[in-house]
Symmetry: C2
């Protein structure tokens, strides 16, 4: 069994409105040391695949087909074996 | 300067509707090996703080005051020093 942690973030150059909003909120609370805020999503998938390379390929396909908006987003993922 | 990576996820027992939706979507694409999907947010904050413990305390405060819904969410964070 494998656990895949997928991190999805906006590509460089794409305006991160949520990040700007969070930054504004933190500054208004007095946290002036906040220079920048970037936001993203992460997904934790549990896969019943027994084979690492099969799991890797499946995660890449799932990202390309459904999970990631390839126009605006980029992704990275980590894969680790877990107990049943 | 410090970079804080904050990972915010739903507490155990809280229904992850987005996770269920993603799981259903992946199964409908034929990825039957997907046993479970959990979703979360992550934030990358750049802090102009020079001192690690001050940065750590500020991140905890920001999470407690604004970034995390303490009723439904829990969080972890990593802190690393970065070049100006």
């Amino acid at each position: 069994m494998f656990e895949a942690r997928i991190y999805i973030s906006l590509k460089k150059g794409i305006l991160d409105l949520e990040g700007k909003t969070v930054k504004h909120g933190l500054k208004s609370l007095g946290y002036d040391q906040v220079e920048d805020v970037k936001t993203g999503k992460y997904l934790v998938l549990t896969l019943s695949t027994a084979d690492r390379s099969a799991a890797e390929q499946a995660v890449e396909e799932m990202c390309e087909k459904l999970l990631v908006n390839k126009v605006m987003e980029e992704y990275t993922f980590e894969l680790r074996e877990v107990e049943e």
